[in-house]
């Protein structure tokens, strides 16, 4: 546990020394969301109807943009190899990196989401559920994305390829995330969608570190 915390701390310190450029992801998130009123027109009713979808899709894309940084930098300077050789289990190392990644990208997204929901005129009933759904969804995105990040280590055009690999697997999270918020706004029960999001989170929490570790091992062979 102590090693786990130290690994998380290492990645957070690295992010800090790079000037928190992970926050650029949040800037992308905000800009992407702000583009939609220019595209579909500023009429409040229309924006309110599609607000949940816009925020979720933008969160997905922003999350995906930041994934390359999860493993690529360590792979390039050789520290990933040292981590693999260390006595700590690779799955634990991967989990620590994913946690640090979520803290630097997912959490700022969740903080920015309510502000953007105001910009898109989303109904008040949806705010709390949006935050809850994003709290369950963004770690799931980080976990699933980590598998993709491990698979593209050392490949050509890794960033674009990562989106093709990971976006199909993201779609269930998107469907249930938006479904939960829309159900809450319409006054229907949203417990089922939240439970499914929680189930997806727990499932990926169990399986993705293992798959990512397998991907890293085959990349370093």
């Amino acid at each position: 546990m102590d090693r786990f915390i130290r690994l998380v701390g290492r990645d957070l310190r690295l992010a800090q020394r790079h000037g928190f450029d992970s926050l650029l992801v949040v800037v992308f998130f905000v800009i992407a969301v702000v583009l939609f009123p220019f595209g579909v027109g500023p009429e409040p009713n229309i924006l309110a109807r599609i607000a949940a979808g816009i925020i979720w899709v933008a969160a997905l894309l922003a999350s995906m943009l930041s994934l390359e940084r999860l493993l690529q930098a360590d792979y390039e300077d050789g520290s990933l190899e040292l981590l693999v050789l260390s006595p700590v289990t690779l799955e634990v190392i991967v989990l620590a990196k994913i946690l640090a990644h979520w803290l630097t990208t997912g959490l700022p997204l969740i903080i920015a989401a309510p502000l953007l929901a105001v910009l898109l005129n989303m109904n008040v009933e949806g705010f709390a559920i949006l935050i809850l759904a994003l709290l369950l969804g963004t770690p799931t995105l980080s976990l699933m994305g980590a598998v993709g990040a491990g698979l593209i280590l050392g490949s050509r055009r890794g960033g674009v390829l990562l989106s093709l690999l990971v976006l199909p697997l993201y779609i269930p999270v998107l469907i249930f995330g938006v479904g939960a918020v829309d159900a809450a706004i319409a006054g229907f029960a949203f417990k089922a969608q939240i439970l499914i999001l929680a189930g997806l989170f727990l499932g990926t929490l169990a399986l993705c570190p293992w798959a990512t570790a397998a991907a890293i091992r085959q990349a370093l062979e």
Binding site: V147, L151, G154, R156, L161, L164, L165, L169, A211, A214
Partner: protein
Amino acid sequence: MHRFANPKRFMRLSGVLLPWTAGLSIVLIGAGIYLALFGSPSDYQQGQSVRMMYVHVPAAWMSLFCYTSMAVAAAVALIWKHPLADLAAKSAAPIGACFTFLALVTGSLWGKPMWGTWWVWDARLTSVLILFFLYLGYMALINAFDDPTRGYRAASILVLVGFVNVPIIKFSVDWWNTLHQPASVFKMGGPAIHPSMLTPLLLVGVGYTTYFLWVLMVRMRTEILAGKIRAARLRQVRGPVSAEG
């Protein structure tokens, strides 16, 4: 299985099987389509448009079958490092992608007269579309590395991760009550359609499968030959050096 790990033996065996699978697929698909167009009844509700089922449904079966074979081949490659398993998965991917595309397009063409729409975001159509993207992602990943071995290994993991989509597709019509009709053939209690419709359906299905095996063998033979050419080119480049060394 390890007997067939020898590429030379595989080339011999596939050379023998190739004309048979080719002929069998042409005969089965031909017979199936003949029965589908002329030997089977029209539907009481859909009229003649039901005959699209005989192309659409077996193509959808094949899209799942191809992905499952790729997943099995990927697992064999990762666990036992069987040399031909990687080739099998790589060769099967474009065939599976084409069957998936065929299923989506024929389904869309069938949906317009039947449901009144080219596309609807119901559970089965969405999950089959995701399957199509998984095929494309696999083909992109395999070719994304300068070292082919890296590509095979990474893509094997991707196939296994994406396999969770296959049971979702199969049970999507049971779990969600949406537009696409529930299962009529592969369900508990056996097929629920009349033999006059079931026979051409199964004929085309088996025909598609033999077609898949035919094209799979052709592609695998091509991959083996391409590997030989690559090795010969490397030898040609390195040749003068090793003569002195």
